[in-house]
């Protein structure tokens, strides 16, 4: 079991996702972004920044997070957090969000599982990754994309090459949607993703 430190930015949807019984047991500790400097990160295997954590609240801790990665730590950086402002080697391309794709006959958001043999996809399937697309990444050489968009650009990837640690980076924002009681696919994503982080990552 990994020890997960989850950053808690304090919105209603963060409270719901991080504190309600469905997922709370998976987080070993919660920390306010402003208090990251008071925590010994080496006690944790994963530091997780949930989606829609404002980058302005993470950027002051960039050096601290890079030091954590340099000693082998893992950072999980969810969507809508402007990761390029607080993590290394991030190349993010914002895309216009089609909020209404699912109203079009036979439409697809175009997301696909890029690496079906990866253990994450024993827990989630193609129907659990698609709600909105806010952006894509151009991962560094050697990084492994797990979810791609229709043009083959990464939506979720694992970078074990930039640092001695690991960065799992995505533009998906399931904490926001699950915590808003708004998107069953986002809930299904977290039902598989968070236990996978806890048990296998």
């Amino acid at each position: 079991m990994t020890r997960i430190l989850a950053i808690h930015p304090g919105t209603a949807y963060h409270c719901e996702t991080l504190e309600a019984p469905r997922f709370a047991r998976l987080f070993d500790a919660l920390v306010r972004p402003e208090d990251l400097g008071d925590v010994d990160l080496s006690r944790f295997d994963i530091v997780l920044a949930p989606c829609r954590t404002p980058a302005s609240r993470l950027a002051p801790h960039r050096a601290r997070l890079e030091a954590y990665l340099a000693m082998g730590g893992a950072v999980v950086a969810m969507g809508e957090t402007d990761q390029h402002l607080w993590l290394p080697s991030i190349r993010f391309i914002s895309v216009p969000t089609n909020w209404w794709w699912w109203l079009e006959p036979d439409a697809s958001l175009g997301l696909s599982i890029a690496d079906p043999r990866h253990p994450l996809f024993a827990r989630i399937g193609a129907n659990d990754i698609a709600w909105h697309l806010h952006g894509v990444f151009s991962p560094p050489d050697g990084a492994r994309s797990l979810i791609d968009d229709a043009e083959g650009r990464s939506v979720l990837y694992l970078d074990e090459v930039t640092t001695k640690g690991r960065m799992l980076v995505t533009s998906l924002d399931p904490f926001y949607h699950h915590g808003s009681h708004f998107m069953p696919a986002a809930t299904r994503f977290l039902d598989g993703f968070l236990p996978w982080l806890k048990e296998e990552f």
């Binding site: 304090g10 919105t11 719901e16 829609r52 404002p54 302005s56 109203l103 808003s180 009681h181």
Partner: protein
């Protein structure tokens, strides 16, 4: 100028993005000021005439400011609160209660009371976007005793919108859903809702 007229109306922004376009006019007119939540100190909060908060409010921070908020209300301050109440910031408040299954009938809206923010506005116009229901809100926060329900949601007409005149001073307008200035397909309706919220916070409407 009265003391109230000299006090600020503040839109509290909790993310890194720009202010919502629906507030352009009151911002340009000086009827509303933007303040990032991280830069809002308790003294400015307590001295404000009105506050508008969004569904992205850092409620952990907000609840820690209960003393400043009580001072704000004691001075007659008005707060328009958007979103799910996760951290009640006054002793009279109770947390958000989500709706059940999310069937279409669960998202039906019904007017339960008159208020300047909703005056002349058919709730049916707010019930769907592109024919899809559920954007307005998906539950309610129970109003305190004396709270007056304005909009009901679902088969039980749970009070998703209400206004509460706090006995010790001030008032709270609760909308337990997505930011009110985003709920309609018609942009002019969203702008009207934003501008009416500002007018109410300023004390110019009852």
């Amino acid at each position: 100028m009265t003391a109230a007229a000299g006090r600020e109306n503040l839109l509290v922004l909790s993310g890194d993005g720009p202010p919502p376009k629906a507030f352009d006019a009151p911002l340009a007119a000086g009827a509303l000021a933007i303040v990032p939540q991280s830069e809002l100190d308790d003294a400015r909060l307590a001295a404000a005439r009105g506050l508008v908060t969004t569904m992205h409010l850092d409620q952990v921070d907000f609840a820690r400011r209960s003393a400043a908020l009580e001072a704000f209300f004691d001075r007659g301050g008005r707060l328009a609160f958007m979103g799910h109440l996760a951290r009640p910031f006054l002793p009279e408040l109770a947390p958000f209660v989500p709706l059940g299954a999310g069937r279409r009938a669960d998202f039906a809206l019904v007017a339960l009371g008159e208020h300047a923010v909703f005056e002349g506005l058919d709730r049916a116009r707010l019930e769907t976007r592109r024919g899809v229901a559920g954007f307005y809100g998906r539950g309610h926060a129970p109003p305190p005793p004396g709270g007056r329900a304005l909009t009901g949601v679902g088969p039980q007409a749970a009070p998703i919108d209400w206004v509460w005149e706090r006995p010790a001073g001030g008032a709270l307008l609760m909308h337990a859903g997505n930011d009110l200035w985003t709920v309609c397909d018609e942009p002019s309706v969203n702008v009207a809702l934003a501008e009416r919220i500002v007018t109410w916070c300023a004390g110019a409407t009852a």
